[in-house]
Symmetry: C2
Subunit: 284 residues, 2 copies
């Protein structure tokens, strides 16, 4: 039988990636840009070519809608320029969360991806907003899941709650993503997401998944840490504890074929039966 | 905020359910009908009103296409009549796997649901066939996921590999399923499915899930056991070991609201972004 499960996936793109879990304490943007630089240097020293940082890494997350709005910057604002410089200086591609002031004046919960030459490859706006924490501060992204390519590696980007919806990771897998990177800010009591749901997303789509969480406390939230890099068999390649930490793993898209051969989920889908998934309106 | 997450879900339908894990040894249909009767009596004595049995329970599963075809029966064949009698005699609704000879002459990997009055409520034909093991013996079902109602409980039915696709459980949740019951025959090395993927399906859809597996060996397969009844928070309400066993749990749809309040996945979906899920054709 023809193995169609890996079609659209380039076997190139092997690379070491780093996930930074932090900051332990929230929201000073200048301090967090310095932390981004230190983390990128640490990642480079460890041989990583991509560094994934948490949701709203630059500014803090649960800081209130007014503070979020005050710290929001355009996609090409001064923080983006600084981050691009860090990427160029360290030779590490960066994905980090920040509040984006859109051209429409609205504020988005965004994550920006820059390559090691400092070029912006993607800017994902969180599409699935979580409760009042998100809805009071952000407008929802309206785009499809964001796909980019870093050194030949097809990389999808989601933010936090986005990844809890199987639909979003599936859409990225169908477009050939070999790695899905997820800046997040997941808090108690949602341990199940870190421990079980994120590995399930990797397994059911045969891809690598990097989940970069915050840690410590912010407002009344207790962030869970437990950032992880998961392989296409659903097992942890690396997993952080509760505190500030960097984890590393080697991502090799060629391994995807090993895991998709016996249960080729993508090829075995029956999209002609799935019309109900894309039908607007809540269940009756 | 209006809680839309539970719309379409009747808070009624609380019941104790039983999952039979077995048989330890495969394929004598007469013996398995007797086993069905003993299991139904045992479930009734334990206060259960629904008994879920594994995939191809009546005949064995990995017995080869010729044996499967020889043992296939119409949906209202003699085995169905015997099962209906067992349901009436014990007062327990039954869901069990068997090879169905369709009106079109084809053989389907099916599961039949009869209520305690012996009426057939549903007959699900496995839609997602697993490798040559299924494809050499069965035609694929062409229907949507199967939904029925047992004593006020909205019950979805999938078979084995079907449940590994998030699309199928989601479609049932969108139709209001409070419980998804899954006759299965899951074998080594797919432990991840029993341990992590099945709980993830319950969690991401806020529903109960009963996963009834075979155990022991058949042909070259080592069935994993590990049948489970999982709650809408993803935790095990009951889990079997590796051998022949019955497990029990109380399913209370009212508990779904507790778990869907904080992360109302169904209400927070963005179906207008999911068109790609229902588009035929493999990824380019």
């Amino acid at each position: 039988m023809e193995d169609k499960s890996c079609s659209g996936r380039d076997a190139g793109g092997q690379m070491r990636i780093a996930v930074f879990q932090g900051p332990q304490q929230g929201g000073d943007p200048a301090r967090n840009l310095n932390l981004l630089e230190r983390s990128a240097r640490q990642a480079a020293a460890a041989g990583a070519r991509l560094l994934v940082c948490p949701e709203m890494f630059l500014t803090g997350y649960a800081i209130g809608p007014a503070a979020v709005a005050a710290r929001a910057e355009p996609v090409d604002g001064p923080s983006a320029a600084r981050a691009a410089g860090i990427a160029r200086a360290t030779g590490v591609a960066l994905l980090y969360g920040y509040p984006e002031r859109g051209g429409d004046g609205r504020v988005y919960n965004a994550a920006q991806l820059v390559d090691r030459d400092g070029r912006r490859l993607a800017n994902h706006r969180k599409t699935h907003l979580f409760g009042t924490l998100d809805r009071d501060a952000f407008a929802p992204g309206q785009g499809p899941p964001t796909l980019a390519e870093v050194d030949g590696l097809k990389l999808g980007v989601l933010i936090c709650y986005d990844v809890e919806f199987p639909e979003n990771v599936r859409l990225l897998a169908l477009q050939g993503a070999a790695l899905v990177a997820v800046p997040t800010a997941n808090m108690a009591p949602y341990t199940f997401v870190c421990r079980a749901l994120v590995p399930a997303r990797a397994y059911e789509n045969h891809l690598f998944l990097a989940y970069a969480n915050r840690c410590g406390h912010e407002d009344e939230l207790e962030y869970l840490g437990q950032s992880c890099i998961v392989g296409p068999d659903g097992t942890d390649l690396a997993r952080a504890g509760p505190g500030e930490e960097m984890i590393l793993a080697d991502v090799d898209p060629a391994r995807i074929a090993d895991w998709s051969r016996n249960n080729p989920y993508l090829a075995d889908r029956r999209p002609e039966l799935y019309g109900g998934l894309a039908t607007p309106g809540q269940p009756a």
